[in-house]
Point group: C2
Chain length 309, copies 2
């Protein structure tokens, strides 16, 4: 598993949110943490590939944070600065980090977000549609010219309230990346194997099911693959781990440049690896400092977890 330097890989376009999060964690309160699905996914994908973000921030968003994204090889030409405040979310985690409660959501400029792809992004081969309204995810696809791989995330809110639009989206994407609760809700079946078969019947050629500390599963026409989670003894902040997972998956695929079953399986292992780093620190503090060398070292450890010999 040799990886190219980021600059030599195909670019990845990421559409999603950029936000400020106020987090009440067992380790203490953290204010104004830069988060959002696009942020988490971008830092993670940028380990392996050039990244382009389409998102919106408010007048209050610091230039220094945008500069940090740029310094990580993330193209921010698609980040629109709108009049008003940046999206804010506040949440409180349970003492054991298994559950969380939303304390406050202020959509602010994100409420009117209409993703617009700069001309240079329309031919980007790898596209990750973060969790936004499925109608907006479809608008992105309308602007993109025959990408090689389109992946999408979604959430319970759209599965419940925008099922028809979501089903239209599913017919147009290659890869759906969701967690197990979303899978069960989307398929209306508690059994993961049956649910996966149903969701593959809705359009995507591949399905990735994220299961947090229990790992992740890939379903495609080669069957089922299981990637364990990396066992951590110092969990700090699970915020954004799912977005980090999706970003690493896409970045890894863009880096390798192959879309065969084996590459997807290795991408799933790497995605779990990078997501585990995310949980070890607040926000993107760990993943934004990560190197490919560090990522591959943990991947080797993770691979040993399932070695029989």
């Amino acid at each position: 598993m040799i990886s190219k330097p980021r600059e030599q890989a195909s670019p990845v376009l990421i559409v999603g949110s950029v936000a400020f999060d106020d987090l009440e964690l067992p380790s203490g309160a953290e204010k104004d943490v830069v988060g959002g699905s696009a942020t988490y996914a971008a830092y993670s994908a940028a380990l392996f590939a050039p990244v382009q973000i389409v998102a919106v921030v408010g007048a209050d968003f610091p230039e220094a944070t945008l500069a940090d994204l740029k310094n990580h090889g993330i193209d921010i030409a698609g980040v629109e600065r709108a009049a008003g405040k940046t999206f804010r979310w506040a949440g409180r985690y349970a003492e054991n980090l298994t559950g969380r409660m939303t304390l406050d959501t202020q959509l602010n400029v994100f409420a009117d977000f209409r993703p617009k792809l700069p001309a240079a992004y329309t031919s980007t081969p790898f596209v990750l549609l973060g969790n936004i309204h499925p109608a907006l995810q479809l608008e992105v696809l309308d602007q993109a010219q025959k990408p090689r791989l389109v992946a999408a995330d979604t959430m319970n809110f759209w599965i419940e309230g925008e099922r028809k639009t979501l089903l239209e989206l599913l017919s147009k994407i290659d890869l759906l990346i969701i967690n197990d609760e979303e899978l069960r809700q989307l398929a209306e079946d508690h059994n993961v194997k049956r649910a996966a078969t149903k969701v593959l019947g809705m359009g995507p050629k591949r399905l990735v099911v994220k299961r947090g500390e229990f790992g992740a599963m890939l379903f495609d026409d080669h069957g089922c693959f299981f990637a364990p989670a990396f066992p951590l003894d110092n969990e700090v902040d699970p915020t954004g781990a799912g977005d980090t997972f999706a970003g690493a998956l896409m970045g890894y695929l863009a880096n390798v440049g192959e879309l065969d079953a084996g590459t997807f399986r290795r991408a799933l292992m790497m995605a779990g690896c990078i997501a585990s780093f995310c949980v070890e620190g607040v926000g993107t503090r760990v993943t934004s400092k990560l190197t490919q060398h560090g990522a591959f070292a943990r991947l080797a450890e993770l691979s040993r977890l399932v070695q029989l010999g």
Copy 2:
């Protein structure tokens, strides 16, 4: 992974309960299902090794059922028939089989169970102490002469109420086989990795953590190993899956006759396999019909779940 015929393997001694279960399953109600930890573990272990059971049944227990155990290579000389009724349990499962509610427990003859090893069992090399009072588990060890491997199961009830006796037991066994909730409760730590380290510090050289549909983990001085669960699309009855898992693990180890790290890892994979068969039918209906050939065929499928290539 070649296996010996059962008759050529070392014997496994299993101490536990034999019971009648009344099960309310999504697929319908099932009355008088022969269950109990020793029954499930015995049918499972007997795939790989000669099995000896120490348990108690009441006057109402059918001779035909005992005969069926014998026909499966299970020695029932240690099954005491006491005056009174056999242990009965009644439970209702949730529609998706994730939760269950106990409707009735009648300990009956099991209330006064004091395991007595027939002389022929005292030198049995592989001993599985099913989930009974830890003081009784200790009594079994007092009767056993230097077994090669002692494994034990336990439950929340003993972890809460009999901690001191349980800790004495843990100092005397080689392998603890529990589920993740029991692990967290025993270690008083939600984090699985930290909890496993604490429990290994209590005595057992190896710890197996059962996580149902999420697979199982093995912790020992070679680190951590992860075995995925076999994804089923036809779950029927999870009763006894954990006991079936433990029985298969011990049976496989007794069959191979080696106690190195690699053998334990393969045993964990096989245990998950046999447990998946258990869930596919009511009671021991599937596992009691299973062959080594069928077991190894599913093991090959399970192994492919974690193959990168």
